[in-house]
């Protein structure tokens, strides 16, 4: 059940410059500039009642400019409303102001986005990697990072090797065919 928060959307639109607005199956996404995102989140929390940050995630639009995107999934516990905010940042300067001051839960989410995509959250109190070890040289969810990984070595801490893909990567083929034809396989 999605309740599109029309009042909240128009409030955000009148207060901040919305770069783009998309609606899909009753869900609304508002794209904002990186400079205003922290302020917009604070506005959403205090004025519009979005008191819960469900998720904060990174995206890599490889080949496009700006390349990276950060997505904020906001939820209003009182009214049961969802709102999605988005921010695009370029590869040259992948910096987004932190929202840890707005929702404390953003701390670990932002660390994950930093770990996986290399997006830096300015003002974050403790921007370390959260999944990979400190000193791992890559950002593994970037689109130009190979699926099987790359070799790396950090003595006494950890190492990594490239996984054999045996003709992969494994590709799923969406269709109405049987599982045998749809399931992830190496397709050359």
């Amino acid at each position: 059940m999605s309740h599109s928060p029309k009042a909240a959307i128009s409030a955000v639109e009148s207060r901040f410059k919305v770069l783009s607005k998309t609606e899909f199956r009753g869900e609304t996404s508002l794209s904002l500039a990186p400079e205003v995102i922290a302020e917009a989140c604070l506005f959403c929390r205090d004025e519009l009642g979005f008191n819960f940050l469900t998720d904060l995630s990174g995206l890599d639009h490889f080949g496009e400019d700006p390349r990276f995107e950060v997505v904020y999934e906001l939820y209003n516990m009182e009214r049961g409303e969802w709102l999605r905010l988005k921010v695009r940042v370029s590869e040259d300067q992948p910096e987004v102001p932190t929202v840890t001051g707005v929702w404390a839960t953003a701390d670990w989410h932002e660390r994950e986005a930093f770990d996986m995509y290399g997006i830096r959250f300015t003002g974050h109190p403790d921007l370390r990697r959260i999944l990979m070890w400190d000193g791992y040289p890559f950002h593994p969810l970037r689109k130009d990072f190979p699926l099987g990984g790359k070799p790396s070595e950090m003595p006494d801490v950890a190492f990594s090797e490239a996984a054999p893909l045996q003709g992969g990567p494994f590709v799923t083929t969406p269709s109405t065919a049987t599982t045998k034809d749809r399931e992830p396989r190496a397709r050359s």
Partner: protein, 175 residues
Amino acid sequence: MAELAPVAYDSKIEGNVIFTQLDAAMNWMRKNSLWPMPMGLACCAIELMASASARFDIARFGSEVMRFSPRQSDVMIVAGTVTYKMALAVKRVWDQMPEPKWCIAMGACASSGGMYRSYSVLQGIDHLIPVDVYISGCPPRPEALIEGLMRLQRKIEKEPAFYEQKRALLEDLAG
């Protein structure tokens, strides 16, 4: 009817003395008291716990004493996905186990990385430590683990337990 008198049979001794080879005796003791080091890293660890519990009961094979100290264990059961972040920790625990020691790779992940053909997962614990028994399954059922344990017991039976150590000792003394 001629009387069948047992020759050189002393009932007082026969009950307490076993004539065998030293290797066989040592292996017999070792294989029936394999204390596991439960290296539970993912869902296989749940099946490992089920194997230890009353329904499957690996105590029947002498392996009920799960030791969370590597210094008191004989067999490391690597149960689950070994990530690169965890890999050297597993190796370190293995290095702290005293000889003789064995390793069971339980499940697809520990054996080969399983479905994780990934940047983050070690493609089989045998990249780091020698594995004696591989168990297939995702996760394997407790019966499979017990089968693996019994195979390990059969393997230990055939090991030259004492002979190898004696030879190594003699080589040490000579060199």
